[in-house]
Amino acid sequence: MLYSEKVLDHFSNPRNVGELSDANGVGEVGNAVCGDIMKMYLKIENGMIQDVKFKTFGCGAAIATSSMATELIKGKSLEDALKLSNQAVITALDGLPPAKIHCSVLAEQAVRAALADYYRRQGIDPEPIVGKLEDDPHHCESCSSCANH
């Protein structure tokens, strides 16, 4: 498994780790059975991501993609945050091994889940804005453990 220097940097010195006590949007995606869970905390004011923190259970790539996703949306507008794609996370990390692409999808989904929670708290239906969030957005099609549980 060859990780880029950037992945190793974000893994060993993750940015924005922790929780936000005054978060107004919190999302959690993944599944411990499959080996990764990401939890994203957003503090949104005046349509801007004022602060963001994350907690992740998972491999090196799961931690690095969470960290990079928080960096890419911190201080950005809600519109920009909604545009975050897993490809942008991969590019910013100078690539990911093929087996780890699903981690970047999970990071994108964690941001979306937190944004959806924010809209819900505002009394706004998130689906037209954030899109439909799957119950379990983890890409598990090749993982028999999910099929068995």
Binding site: F11, S12, D36, A62, S145
Partner: protein, 400 residues
């Protein structure tokens, strides 16, 4: 403590020791003759080859004519299983017995034979990572062609009751193969006393080089040939012998068997200090597999709330080489079949760590691991939402 380099993954591979290298060097330089050649350089090579065969036979308490050199442990497993299955099938025997926590060299070979119409019984190991001879006895049928059960497990280090299984198989007149790749050099093996018909071993697990293995095949037992070609190995395993590596393997197995008790005692002391130290210092972790029936140098511990690959990466940054049964390190999204076989839930199997010790490790290495590991676990747990939930549950329980 200053940063050290600690290689604690001897179940994966071992360094070539100095005496082993010295035994090999002449055959990488002037001793390049082909043992099948008639002239003196070939005859010298042949003589060396036969002396190596005697050394391996002595270490296993076998006859030299029962020792066949192969390219690796996986080839030995493939030969033994496919060869015995084919020989059995000709007598109408198409049933095979193994366990559900074998190395993939055995497990995938069995699965391939299932596709060819063989029926395989996978004996389930218990929560301690053990099976009993009684389980084997109950599984044997009139059409059983082979029993193949590993000597010691490569991931959790448990040692199976091989002499008892050997007795059951001998009584039922069913050939018994054991994959002893992890055991050879760590525990004393006597193929006669233990009633083993076939045994696989690998050079690189006992300080010899990669690319050389052995199949012990009891005389009188007929199995089909696996490698077809020239007349090497008494016509039963073709291919020019990898003489330098064979000389290395012979030196390594001789050294290991002469010092087997001291080596085991030294490794056991380090292993036990690690197990006790980790279990005492780190909450919510467990030793995987029986503590008693265990290889001297091997331990496997699961830590709740963390994932194994990130643990390995952080250990590596501190100079410690180890391995894990997490999905991310198994190359699939499923954690190790061994950890699932002993009944670990997926989420706990993902957080496993295997440490396997060898000759060059010292108590200082052990103390270094015990110093480095707890803060790494704490750090990963502090950023883990799974750990957060476990702690919330624990608080709720203590209040309730």
């Amino acid at each position: 403590m200053e940063k050290r380099f600690v290689y604690a993954d001897h179940s994966a591979t071992t360094p070539i020791s100095k005496p082993v290298l010295n035994a090999m060097l002449p055959y990488l330089t002037e001793g390049y003759g082909n043992p099948s050649s008639i002239y003196s350089k070939g005859r010298e090579a042949k003589k060396a080859l036969e002396s190596a065969r005697e050394q391996v036979a002595e270490a296993l308490h076998a006859k030299p004519s029962e020792i066949y050199f192969t390219s690796c442990g996986t080839e030995s497993d493939n030969w033994a299983i496919k060869g015995a299955a084919a020989a059995g099938a000709r007598k109408g025997k198409r049933h095979l017995i193994t366990t559900n926590f074998e190395h993939h060299a055995v497990l995938h070979t069995m699965q391939m034979l299932e596709k060819e119409g063989f029926e395989v019984t996978y004996l389930p190991v218990d929560s301690q990572g053990l099976i009993t001879a009684a389980q084997v006895r109950e599984a044997i049928r009139p059409d059983t062609a082979l029993v193949s059960i590993m000597y010691a497990n490569n991931e959790i280090g448990t040692i199976l009751p091989i002499p008892e299984i050997g007795a059951v198989c001998r009584e039922a007149r069913v050939p018994f193969h054991t994959d002893a790749v992890q055991a050879v050099g760590q525990v004393a093996i006597d193929v006669g006393v233990q009633q083993i018909d076939m045994l696989s071993l690998s050079g690189h697990k006992l300080n010899a080089p990669k690319g050389v293995g052995v199949l012990y095949l009891r005389s009188g037992l007929a199995i089909d040939t696996f490698m077809h070609g020239g007349a090497q190995e008494r016509g039963r395993r073709a291919g020019t012998e990898n003489l330098a590596s064979i000389m290395g393997l012979a030196a390594a197995i001789t050294i290991a068997s002469f010092q087997i008790e001291e080596r085991a005692a030294r490794r056991t002391a380090m292993r036990d200090r690690l197990i006790d130290g980790i279990l005492a210092q780190i909450p919510r972790c467990r030793l995987n597999g029986s503590r008693e029936h265990r290889l001297p140098g091997s331990l496997n511990i699961s830590f709740e709330g963390i994932e194994g690959e990130s643990l390995l990466l952080l250990l590596d940054m501190k100079g410690i080489c180890a391995s894990s049964g997490s999905a991310c390190t198994s190359g699939s999204l499923d954690p190790s079949h061994v950890l699932l076989a002993i009944g670990l839930p997926h989420e706990i199997a993902h957080g496993s760590l295997r440490l396997s010790l060898g000759d060059e490790n010292t108590m200082e290495d052990v103390e270094y691991i015990l110093e480095i590991l707890p803060p790494i676990i704490e750090r990963l747990r502090s950023m883990s939402p799974v750990w957060e939930k476990l702690m919330a549950e624990q608080r709720a329980q203590s209040v309730g």
